[in-house]
């Protein structure tokens, strides 16, 4: 089938402002959008810039706005997107070129929640024990691939770029609810800050955006509950 891509382009060396360019491409209904972007890049316009690597939704490189929604280009099939597809860079980040955005601030927030286990006691000879139920408690938030789909879909984040954002809170949740972690109070204090979980207005855009099907709003809700009750 023939499809039309409308891609938002910006080259800092040439353009003052971003503009759309259209491309017509032959594609199979079962092609990934990433395949089609590659077709454009390889056969029509080599200057088109986007990030990509694994091609199956694990590395998190190719998050972008597809027909108005945050998606990974490698997880969306043409048959689900239709014959006319509008492609834009993620909102809320500075555009470096075309679909490539500056993610430094995003990763700085990730580092800010201290994303590493703090066990508080010396390592045993073998593994720390953890029951199946204890492991299950934070399973959902271990799936996060830091693609930024959730954070850049969040109106609270658009309004306040200092907000930690859903991705960093998801990562905070992953450690807060890990039975092996002993830094609960420190974690709760970070998440309780002025730009922490209370900026969330339960709009659920993050849930729609997450390519890993993480129940992001629920995770944020669990952190809020832990703050209110003092119990994890």
């Amino acid at each position: 089938m023939q499809i039309t891509l409308k891609i938002k382009r910006f080259d800092p060396a040439r353009d003052k402002e971003a503009h759309f360019e259209s491309y017509t491409v032959e594609a199979e209904p079962t092609d990934r959008l990433l395949d089609v972007l590659n077709t454009v890049k390889w056969h029509q316009d080599g200057t088109l810039a986007y990030r990509r690597s694994c091609g199956h939704g694990i590395c998190g490189s190719d998050a972008m706005l597809l027909n108005g929604r945050n998606r990974l280009a490698c997880r969306e099939l043409i048959k689900n997107l239709g014959g006319r597809i509008t492609i834009e860079p993620l909102r809320g980040f500075k555009v470096i070129k075309d679909l490539v955005v500056d993610m430094d601030a995003f990763f700085a927030k990730y580092r800010g929640i201290k994303p590493y286990l703090q066990s508080g006691d010396p390592d045993p000879d073998k593994e720390r024990r953890q029951s199946i139920l204890q492991r299950e408690r934070f399973d959902d938030t271990t799936k996060c691939i830091l693609c930024a789909c959730c954070t850049t879909a969040c109106p609270s984040y658009w309004a306040n770029p200092d907000y930690l954002g859903p991705a960093a809170i998801v990562q905070g949740h992953r450690f807060l609810f890990d039975s092996r972690d002993a830094a609960k109070e420190e974690r709760l204090a970070i998440l309780n800050g002025g730009d922490g979980v209370w900026r969330c207005r339960t709009i659920f855009n993050c849930v729609d955006a997450c390519p890993r099907d993480i129940d992001v709003t629920r995770a944020i809700g669990e952190v809020k509950k832990a703050l209110l009750t003092g119990k994890v």
Binding site: A13, H56, Y116, R135, F138, D139, D213
Partner: protein, 557 residues
């Protein structure tokens, strides 16, 4: 893993062509092999034997022993760092069956693969990145290394291009470690991401470092048909069965003991044979991976990601329908030759290149021999990454700053500028597509001299076309067309190492199967290949295999 050993103890930089969290380790699914014995009796000696036999006796046995012994403490190390392994009823690390991993030297499958659902690699990558954040490691994200500097036989630094600016940067170092992964993008159907273009291997090769055993390239039996996306061997570890057009469990004919858990080379070869006999699904080159007899809970709890891939990309539910799969280019057993401390070796006498290290898929210790066992890639990156990191620290503490060569970035600058202004008539995409298709046809699972020689001639032609390549993007910022074209040059160089090594090796061993020489020939070929790129073309030499406990035997499963 190397960086974690060095963090806070020296002036350390990690360069990564992607954001580090995007690396391909994250796509590993099924688990890490380590004889913890959490589910049933197991021993590192059994793991060593399986590794040696799995590698068709081309494994250096001292290195395999070391790896399988240290695998156990390395897995505990990861758990202590926070890796969220799946758990047993007793709260220990859960383990599952995997291809070629057996109890009592081949008697039956054993539960050895330590896993976190089917996202083990994702969890390893996250955990190690988290440790680096904890220790404030300095990352240079999206800096693509394009040259390694050698002076007086010693490695003294690298040159990297920063994607965001197009600028070249010089990194002067007392020691450097390549952990830059594999080169699956040589082939049309591959489980490997777009970034896996063998940069580290090719850069070293161009600077006179040999590559070892490159003719051995593993095809994983279960890639999603036409796409190559990996369906973990763990799916068969949990009970999945491969079936042909008639619904037969064809592995009964090829591996009566281990069946669908035979090593990957054997299953991929069986699939090619079945297809040749018209037994592929619809008479084509693919088969069914049948999980429909498994409980829905097993799929959704132990194999959630692959279940999701099948639903997303094929629109079918693996609970109800079998998955169409075909062999997919997965892993080069070969790479930059190293010793057990990750130190790079530059000849058949095992001469060390001071300051230069390699670990993981880019390297060849050799613990995988002619065919790697599932899970052992993760064991390799962790054990040898750790050992290399520790050895580097000793060297860095003892060594003075080595001088840089004159005009250190000259070679890199010349290459990049040539591409930035390349105005020939050839399209990089067309060259790459021909390379990938032809390598799939002529130098994949089944090989013979005629096909390989035809491929050699094709490579000469592609190299000539590459000299006439054009790059349209003249910009500096995120000029990914230029970077992709640079990577295409690496792929052509590495394809040559595979083909030339394969033409020379007149035998069949592990993943290297020659239809014109179907037997293993220990008298002639129980040795490692070293491939050098020279002004006069490829040069091959060989070095002996280290054999300690296990004399080569016929390899049957």
């Amino acid at each position: 893993m190397g960086a974690v050993q060095l963090a806070g103890k020296c002036n350390l930089a990690v360069l990564s062509k992607l954001y580090p969290i995007r690396s391909h380790t994250g796509t590993a699914q099924g688990g890490i092999g380590a004889a913890l014995g959490n589910m049933e009796e197991d021993h590192p000696e059994w793991h060593t034997f399986d590794t040696v036999k799995g590698g068709d006796y081309l494994v250096d046995q001292d290195a395999a022993e070391m790896m399988c012994r240290e695998a156990v403490e390395t897995v505990y190390d990861l758990e202590h760092m926070g890796l969220p392994f799946s758990r047993t009823e007793e709260g220990r690390i859960a383990q599952r069956r995997f291809g070629g991993h057996t109890k009592e030297f081949g008697k039956a499958p054993v539960r050895r693969s330590c896993y976190a659902a089917d996202r083990t690699g994702h969890m390893i990558l996250q955990t190690l990145y988290q440790q680096c954040i904890k220790q404030q490691v300095h990352f240079f994200d999206e800096f693509q290394v394009v040259d390694v500097l050698l002076e007086n036989g010693r490695a003294v630094g690298v040159v990297a291009i920063q994607a965001a600016t197009g600028e070249l940067h010089l990194f002067h170092a007392k020691a450097l470690l390549f952990a830059s992964g594999g080169c699956g993008r040589i082939y049309q159907i591959t489980s490997n991401g777009h970034a896996l273009t063998g940069d580290g291997m090719a850069i070293c090769l161009r600077r006179g470092i040999p590559l070892e055993d490159m003719e051995f390239f593993q095809f994983h039996p279960t890639g999603i048909y036409k796409m190559g996306i990996l369906i973990t061997e763990g799916a068969r570890g949990e009970g999945g069965i491969l079936r042909n057009r008639k619904g037969e469990r064809f592995m009964q004919r090829y591996s009566p003991t281990l069946l669908d858990l035979a090593p990957r080379d054997i299953i991929s070869r069986a699939m090619y044979l079945e297809a040749r006999n018209g037994l592929g699904i619809d008479g084509k080159n693919y088969f069914h991976l049948d999980l429909t007899h498994l409980d829905r809970k097993i799929l959704e709890e132990k194999l959630p990601d692959v279940t999701d891939f099948v639903r997303t990309y094929l629109g079918i539910d693996p609970v109800k329908e079998p998955i169409p799969v075909q062999p997919t280019a997965h892993y080069p057993m070969g790479g930059i030759p190293t010793d057990m401390d990750g130190r790079v070796l530059c000849d058949e006498k095992n001469t060390v290149v001071p300051g230069m290290y390699a670990a993981g898929e880019v390297a060849c210790v050799s613990v995988h021999g002619a065919n790697r066992l599932g899970t052992n890639s993760l064991v390799d990156i962790l054990v040898f990454g750790r050992r290399a990191g520790r050895d580097m620290l000793k060297l860095v503490n003892a060594a003075d700053w080595p001088p840089l060569p004159p005009e250190p970035d000259g070679f890199a600058r010349q290459q990049i500028e040539a591409l930035r202004t390349a105005s020939g008539k050839e399209s990089a995409a067309a060259i790459r597509e021909t390379l990938q298709n032809d390598m799939m046809d002529k130098a994949s699972v089944f090989r013979d001299a005629t096909q390989l020689k035809a491929m050699q001639a094709k490579l000469a032609e592609l190299r000539e076309r590459y000299r006439q390549v054009r790059v349209r993007d003249r910009g500096s910022v995120f000029n990914t067309e230029l970077l992709e074209t640079l990577e295409l040059g690496y792929l052509i160089d590495l394809a040559e190492t595979i083909v030339v090594g394969a033409v020379a090796r007149d035998e069949s061993r592990g993943a290297h199967y020659r239809e014109d020489f179907p037997q293993r020939d220990d008298a002639q070929w129980l040795k490692h290949t070293l491939f050098y790129q020279t002004d006069k073309g490829p040069r091959l030499t060989y070095k002996p295999v280290v054999i300690t406990k296990y004399q080569p035997q016929e390899r049957k499963y």
